[in-house]
């Protein structure tokens, strides 16, 4: 090496050493803060992980704010509880006018924001105004589309006037976003929260005490909380994007809790559960994994073919084999833990003989020497599209392919990116697709809405059902109905029709999972799918 080469080499090594020492030096200081924030049992803190950063903590916008964290800081007027019961929260009580258009809320007194400012009708209106200044942003939500105006009646009375009656108004108000309340100090100067908030000031039991983007967020108890304060002092959220790392951090004891939907693999969940070292639970069904059959396809327009497909696969075995028992076989399109869904309906049982008989009756015969049924020279060939990043959908698609192959139905399976899958669903370019309802508190009203309203792909897929028009009318009637009994009757009729028509084939009920260290006590899943699970949680010895 020449002298020049030697100099260059030494220079490079020198720079590398200097930079790395400096960087390590910088991080030592950060370490001190992190350790301080790490929860220990003595502090009665819970440490959990989340795959993504918690985001900006803006109550009125969506990405990148994470729903569970928003729900720790901000509260709704009405809270969604088990079985769809609506309970008072920031609103002590409410009354609905006879025509279903006026909602008057009596606000809870002595409620303060985390900065000590009072919660009044004026701040409620200010929040509604901020949301309504960007109605297009929230047009997916029913109540926003029907909201005409809001009024401050007095300091603790707030009124909403709708353009037309819409019964799920209270359900929509219980959602985590966009109608929750930010304190005055959080509003930007121009009042437009869609561009950001000054600071996250809410009435909820928690406040964001420390936060480092992409690394952690620490929530501590809100000292001004109006209700019963949480039993634990703080919640530390570590951002861990990788599921396997999450499991190892939990096994090492760096996490007290792994909670959510699909946050760890089913294998890992079972492994942790079977080790006996930890507590684990499964929630009530939060949604149904279904197959959507497109009746605009001539073959699937025939009820006998749709029924044969439902009878032609062993749902129980498929769910147990693929989800390792973490999902439950679904007999109904909507599980019975939602309002109005406790409807008696006859499940379609697995019966290969009946399936074959139905296909024969529908004219689909198996020519000698062939494995695929034919009718008028056309083979009984269908395409199932699935999300290729979802291992459960893929495994289920492959199982269906084998099961239906045995009854003479050729199933072609196509893995797509999620948004491509949605695009094809909406365009009606599919024979069979996986489909899910939205869960609480969106259902059952959001479910029946997409059954009737065009634009989501579901109504379009059902368009060849003989009673389609009647079904749509019933949906519209149910959504606008102010009569509870009538609504129940309409829901029963809609769900029974769909069940009998087999156009949506329920496969399994999806559940949330939690695994926790043994010192975590009194864990309860929130009734609202998007809410945080820290109410009532305790830390034992």
């Amino acid at each position: 090496m020449s002298n020049g080469g030697k100099r260059a080499f030494l220079l490079m090594v020198g720079i590398i050493l200097l930079v790395s020492t400096a960087l390590i030096g910088c991080t030592k200081q950060e370490h001190a803060t992190t350790v301080e924030q790490g929860a220990s049992p003595a502090e009665k803190g819970v440490t959990i992980s989340w795959p993504r950063d918690i985001g900006q903590m803006n109550p009125h916008t969506y990405n990148p704010s994470q729903l569970f964290a928003q729900s720790m800081i901000y509260e709704p007027l009405v809270s969604y509880k088990e079985g769809g019961k609506l309970e008072p929260l920031l609103a002590e009580s409410w009354s609905i006018s006879k025509d279903g258009k006026e909602y008057t809320f009596t606000l809870r007194k002595n409620v303060k924001f985390s900065d000590g400012t009072p919660f009044t009708a004026a701040i409620v209106k200010k929040n509604f105004d901020a949301v309504m200044s960007n109605p297009k942003l929230h047009s997916w939500l029913g109540v926003i589309n029907v909201l005409d105006k809001t009024e401050v009646v007095d300091e603790h009375t707030f009124k909403m006037i709708l353009k037309k009656p819409y019964y799920p108004t209270l359900q929509d108000l219980s959602l985590v976003r966009p109608v929750r309340f930010l304190g005055e100090a959080g509003f930007p100067d121009d009042g437009d929260t869609s561009k950001g908030v000054k600071k996250p000031v809410g009435t909820g039991p928690w406040l964001l005490a420390d936060y480092k983007k992409d690394e952690y967020a620490v929530f501590t108890r809100n000292p001004n909380y109006w209700g019963e304060s949480p039993k634990i002092d703080k919640v530390t959220v570590k951002i861990i994007p990788d599921a396997e790392t999450r499991v190892m951090a939990f096994e090492k004891g760096e996490l007290d809790l792994i909670y959510g939907e699909g946050v760890i693999s089913m294998d890992s969940f079972n492994q942790l559960r079977e080790s006996g070292k930890y507590g684990s639970e499964l929630s009530e069904p939060v949604g149904t994994r279904s197959l959507l059959l497109n009746t605009t396809n001539e073959k699937l327009a025939d009820l006998r073919v749709r029924m044969a497909l439902q009878q032609g696969f062993n749902k129980q075995a498929m769910v147990e084999g693929i989800t390792l028992g973490l999902e439950e076989k679904a007999d109904n399109i909507l599980s019975k833990n939602f309002p109005y869904t406790n409807v008696e309906s006859k499940p379609v049982e697995y019966n290969v003989d009946k399936a074959i008989a139905s296909l024969e009756e529908a004219g689909w015969k198996l020519p000698a020497g062939k494995t695929v049924r034919e009718k008028d020279g056309l083979p009984l060939e269908l395409e199932l599209i699935y999300d290729k990043t979802d291992p459960i959908q893929k495994a289920m698609a492959e199982t269906l392919q084998a099961e239906w192959g045995a009854i003479g139905v050729k199933l072609n399976i196509t893995g797509l990116e999620l948004t491509a899958q949605i695009k094809r669903r909406k365009a009606g370019e599919f024979d069979i697709d996986f489909w899910y309802n939205y869960g609480a508190p969106y259902d059952p009203h959001s479910f029946i809405n997409v059954v009737a309203e065009k634009g989501w792909g579901v109504s379009e897929a059902h368009s060849r059902l003989p009673m389609k028009q009647e079904l749509d009318e019933k949906v519209r009637e149910a959504l606008a109905s102010t009569d509870e009994a009538k609504r129940q009757q309409l829901y029963a009729s809609i769900l029974t029709t769909l069940q009998e028509q087999s156009a949506i084939v329920p496969v399994s009920y999806i559940k949330k999972t939690v695994v926790y260290q043994k010192n975590v006590k009194a864990f309860r899943f929130p009734a609202n799918r998007d809410e945080h699970p820290f109410d009532g949680i305790e830390f034992g010895e």
């Binding site: 090496m1 080499f9 050493l17 960087l23 990405n63 297009k136 951002i239 994007p241 951090a249």
Partner: protein
């Protein structure tokens, strides 16, 4: 020499333009609609009206050529746009994450240099000895084991079982150990073998024989002559690998929850956050070009005959 360097720097412009073009085309031919991806990630049921509004907001309703020229003009002005997801400036977000990635890359290179140079040198000097066999085994593992798998193994043994180091996160030097080891093993494999071969080659040269006949001490021959010359390809490799490391930390950042810009990129891909993906690819391209340029200039400095040839 100056004109050579000037030419090399000018050649960067078409390469960057090409990188922008390729990125633009690749993102646009993907069947995924960013507006739809945004709404899906936000748990918003995407109505046609909302989709149209988002597409307009993101400028995706413009003709493709308009979108392309706007992209190029903006990049020329060093305006990389705002993230669809966070609505914050992409350049600021990348800048905020670079120190973490740089820290990981630098510490991995340091570790690789500290291990591979003595190991490579000794395994050449003591050919077929135990140390040579060990270095061969280490290189074999380093070159063949997938990084994510190695990361999991290291976490499992050193964090979960032995409880010596933290599983994830960034904060102290302890947090840096496992990701740096994971990243550096592949480099160690390359540099050790490279140096070993290079030293063995030098040992065949007549100047070594001459030095020995002059009665120079073996240690002095090895360190002052052989190693000095044999290390040249390793320096080249180091320069080339800096770019690779800065952009190759994606998997390791994901496994160790390291808040660098590799992880930021992964999240952007899942959310179809076009401005971020575009900026990342362009940044990576520039980084590679820059590293190449530095290595070339360094080589030129070491061997001026290159400018005549090149």
């Amino acid at each position: 020499m100056v004109s050579y360097i000037g030419k090399r720097i000018l050649a960067v412009i078409p390469i960057v333009l090409f990188a922008i073009f390729v990125t633009f085309v690749l993102i646009r031919i993907s069947p995924v609609d960013p507006a739809e991806a945004y709404l899906t990630a936000a748990h918003i049921h995407p109505t046609e009206e909302l989709l149209a509004q988002k597409r307009h907001e993101f400028g995706l309703d413009q003709p493709l050529y308009v979108q392309y020229f706007q992209t190029v003009i903006k990049i020329c002005r060093l305006d990389f746009g705002k993230s669809y997801l966070t609505n914050e400036s992409v350049i600021d977000e990348i800048a905020a994450r670079i120190p973490a990635t740089l820290q990981l890359a630098v510490s991995s290179i340091v570790l690789a240099v500290l291990i591979s140079i003595p190991l490579g040198f000794l395994s050449a000097v003591y050919k077929n000895s135990l140390i040579d066999k060990f270095s061969r085994l280490l290189s074999f593992f380093g070159a063949s084991i997938p990084q994510f798998w190695l990361g999991y193994l290291l976490i499992f043994f050193f964090s979960v079982k032995l409880d010596l180091l933290p599983v994830e996160g960034r904060g102290s030097w302890e947090h840096l150990v496992l990701p740096s080891v994971t990243l550096s093993l592949a480099l160690i494999a390359i540099y050790t073998r490279l140096l070993r071969a290079s030293v063995l080659e030098q040992l065949q040269e007549s100047y070594v024989l001459y030095a020995r006949t002059r009665g120079l001490r073996e240690r002095s021959i090895m360190l002052k002559h052989v190693l000095k010359i044999a290390i040249a390809p390793v320096i080249t490799g180091l320069g080339m690998n800096m770019g690779k490391l800065m952009t190759g930390t994606i998997i390791v950042e994901q496994v160790f929850s390291w808040p660098g810009f590799g992880r930021y990129f992964v999240e952007a891909i899942f959310n179809r956050d076009i401005p971020v993906i575009q900026s990342y690819v362009i940044f990576a391209a520039c980084l590679f070009i820059l590293c190449n340029l530095i290595v070339d200039i360094l080589q030129l400095y070491m061997d001026p005959r290159i400018s005549v040839k090149g």
